[in-house]
Symmetry: C2
Subunit: 211 residues, 2 copies
């Protein structure tokens, strides 16, 4: 039930019920707790302290720590994909669309949800069974929304390179940011996305022309 | 004492004492336990089970889980820097030296010590106090051994770009590998290092010429 409610909360934010608003707050607190202590190190008690809710109250929203991690991962991956679809409307050309992908990823995970970036990266392989399968499928969809753009570029320019290595290199560049990015000294998301996009795109063209 | 012994073990492998050989085995088991369970989720009891040693036996080598993580981080960062120095002997030119850096990093962490790559990435910010300071200083030295080469390229070619973003992008590409690399379908370390080096270097040159 929690899961269905979250999905509808994401899809139709305006019709939020009290349950859904409360769940969204819990996911935010849960992300902060996992960010600080890691999934293994965090307890329901930590979450109760952080959210100011009783353990019984928390169990009303999700029945286990595993389920909370699932709801968190599902929320962020669903939302970033939705944002991406909105941003891509009216953007044409694979290069411009790929730049939009990079900007969307950095703005969402770096500027707005930097704690989630670390949690998603760290707890990548924790979930098992059906929950794990569902999250892996969401992530695969997100991966392909990027890989498809790189594939179009490869085709349009008659390039030859290992697509998977190339796309995963880009994700590595973006997802490693949570380990070093310091908003006081580093460029903000738009400038960062420009440098990352320039280096990636032109590196792709140049490296392939020479091989 | 454990720490001094490990340092000498790394520097003069041939004169290993029984203590040092045993410690090296423990570090390997410790890395495997942290790889499976994460630092927060791992207990001394897990380590005892994995290494077949009693808790009392383990405490003879290091006095806490924190100290074990310190010894592990110190070991891998010291060793990869030593390997790099050896490999760089006789290699001239910043571009070739940077390619050597990439190859050394991938061979060491991907081909030979892939569990360590995940542990170092995940437990990056766990250590505090003097232990944390010492590890951060080792990592800074390793970062600069890469950044200095990129800086030489920037200077030689009269380029203008954000050095820190550029170097951290490269580390991101390399260190994210532990989340997706599959030796059965992906290129081995040498071919991978070539593609990563090509894309990074030429991307660097091309992106800057255009700005």
């Amino acid at each position: 039930m929690g899961s269905a409610s979250l999905t509808s909360s994401v899809a139709t934010r305006r019709t939020d019920t009290r349950f859904e608003r409360r769940l969204a707050e819990i996911l935010e607190h849960g992300t902060a707790v996992f960010y600080e202590k890691g999934y293994e190190g965090a307890s329901m008690r930590d979450l109760s302290r952080m959210s100011g809710m009783s353990l019984a109250g928390l169990y009303y929203y999700f029945e286990s720590k595993e389920k909370l991690l699932y709801l968190i991962q599902k929320h962020y991956f669903t939302t970033v994909v939705e944002r991406l679809s909105q941003r891509l409307e009216g953007v044409s050309g694979a290069e411009e669309r790929l730049r939009t992908f990079i900007l969307n990823h950095l703005q969402y995970f770096l500027a707005e949800n930097h704690k989630a970036m670390k949690v998603l990266a760290h707890e990548d392989d924790v979930l098992e069974g059906d929950l794990g399968t569902e999250i892996r499928s969401l992530k695969r969809r997100y991966y392909h929304s990027c890989a498809d753009l790189v594939e179009v570029l490869r085709h349009e320019h008659g390039l030859e390179f290992n697509l998977r290595v190339s796309v995963m290199s880009l994700f590595g560049t973006m997802n490693w940011l949570h380990t070093w990015y310091n908003p006081r000294i580093d460029p903000e998301a738009t400038a960062l996305a420009r440098q990352v996009g320039d280096t990636f795109l032109r590196g792709l063209y140049a490296a392939t022309r020479s091989s």
